[in-house]
Symmetry: C2
Subunit: 281 residues, 2 copies
């Protein structure tokens, strides 16, 4: 497995693979890999000849009061995991390699990014779109794999690929949970044992909401969200949002809606967790 | 020569050329081609095996009061010219093929685009960056040729390629003038005979400024701009801007400046013309 720190080296590797007629898959990550990430690598290995995992804690998608500095990192462990799961290369640049001091170009999404996490993280998706555009141009993949855990991100990246005509197929791979139901996240590391127990209210309440909507359809959305709100608050969760939206537009569901996204962001102590579920209607 | 109207057909052609190991050059234009454009095609033919000319009057780079609707078009003539100059393909999509009704992604430059033309055309360079990103992803060139006529555009596109890591070399080809000195432009078609005569004051005054700066160096910038202003005003030009800046930063020249850009935008009647000159210092 190759490890690249420089944009030019990564791009040369990718161009060479293309010249050899190989299909490239990219798995963009911020490292500190868990089984969720590894399931994306597994999917990438099924899709392509060459699998590139990028490991980059992207400063431009963190707000000034967010956890950029304490975001967990363990490159040696990530490297071993990537190698064991069959990745061909890791791209792990320093921030200074990715961003020039006088950089002045942003890729911005102006509709979907205003909803859900965008309300409390106003610059987040601009940072994501910009860095993912860069990673696409550096790694030149035929296919890129994103996790359904970051449902809004996956939707925005698909929109970006459509609107900027990137010659790339986006695959969204299912959310992976611990046996307890807790959605896997690098940020779970921040939780105390007690907070981790409290955080089970997220997946539990999503299941409750799913049952209510399976029984009564769209009309149950309001009550389902209220039930979730009650359960999570009881478990000491500080709710940023819980919303039940059309999964393709992130607008209120209408009679044209065929799939719902129930998405939430909740803080336990200082740790902000997200989770979601898709429900066909 | 192939003509493509659909993004998917153009992208398939480009991917196929890449698979065959060919080098692709892109010449992005808004059509109504003149010798300035044709010199870009000539340069592209020297650089690559496959030369794609895009012809697209991009609505997102025109402001609401600008000349989108009356912008001159003559596809048959453009097609014949491209073929005669050795282009391999034309990409000429309709606006509806390029922009979905619910499009929501923009590529934006936030520093260089605030200067010069950006002051009176605030959305112009956002439209340019967005459409050029799209054309890059659709035509997949190794090299793209832009004209020095649009000096600010060329600088912003180079910045975009650097900041988003497009795997593309940008070549900026010299400004081409008519024998009279008038910079070639599709918009020259709008000028009456008298306005065309008046518009010669642009190139004439740039030459005057060049001589003043050749003689007295950077310290002559202010006087040179004033002399230009007087000459152009005398010839009925309504000045949008005349500026003498560092050609790489578009900031006021400093002792680190090695090249000046004198750039201007001037209206004759309702027709807005731009012109510029580079001066080593």
């Amino acid at each position: 497995m190759e490890i690249f720190r420089k944009v030019s080296d990564m791009q040369a590797f990718a161009k060479n693979a293309i010249r050899e007629g190989k299909k490239i898959a990219l798995v963009p990550t911020m490292g500190f890999l868990h089984e969720g990430h590894l399931s994306l690598i597994d999917r990438a290995c099924k899709e392509a000849d060459v699998v590139i995992v990028s490991i980059f804690v992207n400063p431009t998608q963190f707000g000034p009061t967010e956890d950029l500095d304490k975001y967990p990192r363990d490159f040696q462990r990530d490297k071993d995991l990537c190698e064991a799961r069959g990745a061909s290369a890791i791209f792990a640049p320093e921030p200074s390699e990715m961003y020039a001091p006088d950089r002045s170009i942003w890729v911005d999404e102006e509709k979907l990014s205003k909803k859900l996490c965008g309300k409390s993280r106003p610059i987040h998706f601009r940072g994501v779109c910009t860095v993912v555009s860069k990673l696409f141009n550096i790694c030149l993949p035929d296919v890129a794999i994103f996790g359904q855990k970051d449902a809004q991100q996956a939707l925005i990246i698909k929109r970006m690929v459509r609107d900027l005509n990137f010659p790339i197929e986006i695959i969204v791979s299912p959310l992976i949970r611990e046996a307890s139901g807790l959605a896997m996240s690098s940020r779970n590391k921040y939780l105390t044992a007690e907070q981790k127990e409290d955080a089970l209210s997220l997946s539990r309440s999503l299941k409750t909401a799913e049952k209510m909507i399976a029984k009564d359809g769209l009309s149950a959305c309001g009550a389902a969200v209220e039930a979730m709100r009650a359960e999570i608050t009881t478990c000491n969760g500080e709710i940023d949002y819980i919303e039940c939206l059309d999964s393709s537009t992130l607008e209120e569901p209408t009679d044209k809606t065929t799939e719902l996204l129930i998405a939430l962001a909740v803080k336990f102590g200082t740790t902000r967790l997200i989770d979601n579920i898709l429900i066909g209607v």
